[in-house]
Amino acid sequence: MMSGARILLECLLRENVDCIFGYPGGVTLPLYDAMYDHAIRHVLVRHEQNACFAAEGYARSTGKVGVCCATSGPGATNLVTGLVDAMMDSIPVVALTGQVSTKLIGSDAFQEADTFGITRSCTKHNFLVKTIADLPQAIHEAFYIASSGRPGPVLVDIPKDVFQAQAHYSPVSSIHLPGYKVIVEGHAGQIRRAAQMMWDAERPLVYAGGGIVAADASAELRELVETLDTPAVTTLMGLGILPSAHPNFISMPGMHGSYAANMAMTQCDLLIALGTRFDDRVTGRLSAFAPKAKVIHVDIDPAEIGKNRAADLPIVGDVKKVLAKLNRNLKELAAEAGSKNESSRQSWGRQVREWKQEHPLTPEISQEEIKPQHLMREIDRLSGGRAIVASDVGQHQMWAAQFIRFDEPRLWLNSGGLGSMGFGLPAAIGAQFARPDKLVFAIVGDGGFQMSIPELATIVNHSLPVKIIIMNNGYLGMVRQWQELFYNNRLSAVELSSFPDVTKLAGAYGFKGRTVERPSELSSALEEAVREPGPYLLNVRVTPFENVYPMVPAGAAIHEMVLGPPQPVTA
């Protein structure tokens, strides 16, 4: 006989879980008691929201399912932001929550919350386990749902008496999910037609997103881009799926995307959308988005197809498998005959390279003050395309995306769909646990950092060598930028005064921290941070009023992007 708590841990072992991020409480006492002498490692975070973000960091940097755990009531409600975040970015997370005993459910018991109801809309699926007999099944189904198809968060709510009950544990051999359909293989006929369309296009463009990361399909993507020799953009969620220096790569499209990417989107005659969902931050005004293009849309989630933009040729399937078949079809076409559009294809390539040269993303650098872009360039130099960078949300996130290069997937971790401040630092923690040999940067704003300060204790506790870089502009910079540009510079509730002294702050937690203000100190300070064997807190004071450009104003078409601050009129 085994307790429910013990059975849960056995199930987790069978799912190859090596690490849980969590926070205990009354109803999870039996679970934590079982963990006391169990092989699974539990990492005590300092706020449940960060347990979920850390689980996401773990999942995003590895592709494995991240696991977090919280008690009933306030513990469970604190997970909600992280669950929505994982939902929006399709990240496999299993959240385990304690619940009041089955007999008390519905009685407004102490720390009772309707976790099952509350998390319905923030999970791919959720379970309330009412008897110990159902527990193993629910756990394995949760992992299966979280990691298959379009990944996402799954929550399992477990009442205290289920943890305490005793039962024989017999491993689950199969799962029973009659209503769960995943279409993996793309339709062969559709794929053939897609290959032909690609072959015949004059101005094709690959638009690839986070689905390529989830499907582990970067190699196939690269092959497609090279076989077709077509320009390619990757979204914020897809940075790293093509090596940054790849000659066909023209960076990220959308609100703060590159000039070349947005022009290519607007001018292409065939948009090849792969594992991406036409997010409004990418498309700008939808009616003016890629107006000349026919669209091929490959996605594992049928509901994404035609949701925002109608697809001329939809393919539902695992993008890795679909790309492998597409590449085979394209090779056959190539063997039969050369491209009939050789010359238009070449001039398209030339045009895109011109756009890239006309307005490249170039970092501002000044001798007097540290420009944010300069900071990102320096981090890029130290990373060499190989470090893990977990970013928070704001201006620093956009500059990091623009100026730090990633040569592999799963290095760039950020809250894309939800844009949740407070994500960066805990995500870096999760990533460092998952990949202890990697150099991990947490790039945070002075605003978002202050949402995550409690986790400094977690970092120290586990001697995680995370390099925390605060891009300190003294403001909630992204909101300030919008107030400046669209609200007559009436800066309302965006100034962040009373920022702590980071040397003292890090010192109080027992590690090193430093503030730099002069451009001349920047590179050596970053190098010192990286050399330090343990964690490091580097506060970089940057120019306060820098804005992120290019910028597509809300409601504008992406080719109407503003490339820089208004220039003084010369009359």
């Binding site: 099952f116 319905r120 809309s121 799962i175 769960y180 293989e185 197809i305 697809a311 539902v316």
Partner: protein, 184 residues
Amino acid sequence: MLQIISLLVENKPGSLMRITGLLSARAYNIESLTVARTLDPELSRMSIVVDVEPHLRSQVIKQMNKLINVLQATDLTDSPAVCRDMALMRIKAPLANRTAILKEAEIFGARVVDQSTEGFALEATGDPEKLDEFIDVMRGYGDIDVIRSGSVAVSLETKKLRLSPPVPRGGGNPAREEEPVESK
């Protein structure tokens, strides 16, 4: 426009919440909803009528199909299907009107389920629009009180009337060639 959706769902706690939650989260308005068990006690059949922009119809179905507890979601709006609604109605009517009321009820096929000195209780089943008409007619005869069941719908296409799960039990997701998804 009104869209008629037929759902085959696992009879599990929370199934109904997931479906109504999904509809409200995406701001689709529910006009009516009925649920009852199928011959297989583990499954329920729901008929839902939602008020939705025509171009969002296929999105509603796709979102429904994504729910783990939904075995099949079908749009019956334009396909051959029978749709019925039931109304229970009390009508308070002076004696002078009673014969006429009974006549109307008979024409419509409604049944008297109770009668008293005050008036009648009637039961009527029919096509939702027909039922509207009947209720309008009855209003002319006196004070009425109506309770409607909401629509239940059954497809007349055999392939859409799937009573068993679309994938074999015991998990596993056989790769099948899907039909090309239509674009909007």
